[in-house]
Symmetry: C2
Subunit: 353 residues, 2 copies
């Protein structure tokens, strides 16, 4: 697989221009482009540029609104329910994050639900935006059903990710961002393409039996991480994101790739202003101590280093910011095609030169 | 192992009387006894009556205060930090839960931290109390270091449990209550007593190498559930419970059994009033649908039933409420001894007749 390093600024501009030419407003395009390129920078290409062609396909098929009209369903001192009305997940999430920070600034804490939304990028991206405001940030979302509950043979759950972020003295939040599946579905697709088998524990076949065959796994379901614990967490995230917001949940969510229906998923964003509990610099001093004691703990045999949540993403971010983000040839071809289709072929050329 | 079914009401009264005779106030004794017997009823004996002799030992050694004096360190609209001043974990947790519910009732949501506390029973017990008020309840605590972070060979983490509970239409909350370790340390102690080996993935030895020998495991560390994901979750729970509250955290926490020092652990309780987002009966209707769709999903081959979080605990609770809680002979002997020592031998006799 040929991979090319691409300047993240040029890439972000190209994505923004493609979206704008496709009919999305400049402001919304900028929000979406930033989220996708940030995922690439952080070494999470599954939530990066590869999503752009899927987004535009769904836009073409009128499965998502060009313009995000956010309506307020409920609004209290510290809680709100926003309806994204089938607009862009990132645009609704940015609004929800801003509102969570504002309410938490005024009252100490806030919970903002979003219903009728779409794919919104990485949860850690949103939780970290809250952490950058000096707060504990939590972000979660439900997703289309590709995973069994513990002991089940039917996909009634998404990989339902959750992120928890807190500020640190370095300026980069400590950020845990994890799906509740044992492994990403993309890893199984990749093994399938390469003709490799997958480890036990990743997936079950359509009958609910453990499998190491990626094609059986793709016809079956992902397994939750940590058995009944990950399964329980995925169920609670479905409840907090989907059931409580008034969005679709569980097996009712149309599949992102296969179903020609709006997804109507739900997100939840929680913020808590740390300075209401202790001075922020006292908190970040204590976090520095926690970081030091974790990173300096003796690695297990064969390991080089113990990491804090988000360390590896941050390392990639710094590296990719300098050297450019690594984009595989097939994604570049998609970009080339999308650029041409949307009359910004010159920006693509600029990108690869 | 001989096990006797004991009436939960009589048991709770005995525990309460033992604590009162040991110098704990009637009110605090009642709170602690209820928490321990509730754990027994729910089929979680690790957080049940077996803890009583440990509690009384720590009380005898002046490692915990007889009377819990709770001071308010910070108090804002929706957040507060309470100092338990080395009093009873359950008493401080009850106060924190009441305060979380009160603030969430007034402002929609609340985060209450507790510092300088002690063992507070099951997190699910506290989260469910919040759920019983029509709210989302979250409870977490840090605990003494017995677990490695992912890739580490040193115990810098406790099993740091978290519980998330929401109300349901049955009146019994849907409640996820999980530690972040792959397996409880008690299971390794049990295997050690029986001379059995333990499965790979539970623990590492003192060098950080995977082990199936329970004595090596007990000299080593527990492994987090789900690899880096459970490890990350345990770190974030340590931060939210310990770092943010001003309690001890990580490897600084004295060990419950081995260290003659106050533990000074931290807890966090979060409440969110669901009726601020949608009418509570609409929420519980939607939860009923989620419950039905989960429990009615086709079990995997070899499985009888798919469960919602908390189903098994609830089943045990109903069974034990009727038939009595199953107490092993060795714990009964401890109780007999404690009853005699605290001049309530007659209550023990009543219990076993």
């Amino acid at each position: 697989m040929i991979v090319k390093r691409i300047d993240s600024g040029l890439l972000e501009n190209l994505v923004k221009q493609i979206l704008t030419r496709a009919g999305v407003s400049k402001n919304e395009s900028a929000i979406i482009a930033e989220s996708l390129v940030h995922a690439e920078l952080s070494g999470c290409p599954s939530h990066g540029i590869s999503k752009l062609s899927d987004y535009l396909k769904r836009l073409d098929e009128n499965l998502i609104e060009k313009t995000t009209t956010i309506t307020t369903v409920r609004d209290t001192f510290t809680t709100a329910v926003l309806d994204a009305n089938n607009g862009w997940g990132q645009v609704a999430s940015q609004r929800a994050v801003d509102l969570a920070i504002e309410k938490a600034r005024n009252y100490g804490s806030a919970w903002i639900s979003v219903r009728n939304s779409n794919h919104n990028g990485r949860c850690g991206y949103w939780a970290s935006k809250i952490a950058n405001a000096g707060m504990v940030g939590i972000a979660m979302t439900n997703t289309s059903p590709v995973m069994v509950a513990y002991g089940s043979s039917e996909s009634t759950l998404g990989t339902n990710p959750i992120a928890i972020s807190v500020p640190s003295s370095s300026g980069n939040p400590i950020s845990l961002d994890m799906s509740t599946s044992h492994q990403a579905r993309g890893k199984i697709t990749l093994a399938h393409k390469k003709g490799e088998s997958i480890p036990k524990g990743w997936a079950v076949d359509a009958q609910g039996l453990p499998t190491t065959d990626p094609s059986d796994a793709l016809a079956g379901s992902l397994l939750p991480m940590g058995g009944h614990k990950g399964s329980g967490l995925a169920i609670m995230i479905d409840i907090l994101s989907g059931v409580m917001s008034g969005a679709l949940f569980g097996s009712h969510i149309p599949r992102f790739y296969d179903d020609a229906l709006p997804q109507q998923i739900g997100h939840l964003f929680v913020a808590m202003d740390i300075s209401t509990m202790m001075p922020l610099d006292e908190f970040t001093d204590r976090i520095s101590q926690k970081e030091k004691e974790t990173r300096n703990s003796k690695p297990a045999p064969g390991r080089e280093q113990v990491y804090m949540p988000g360390d590896l993403e941050q390392k990639k971010y710094m590296e990719n910011r300098k050297a450019g983000v690594p984009i595989p040839e097939e994604i570049l071809l998609e970009l080339k095609h999308l650029a041409a289709k949307n009359q910004v072929a010159h920006l693509y050329k600029e990108l690869i030169n």
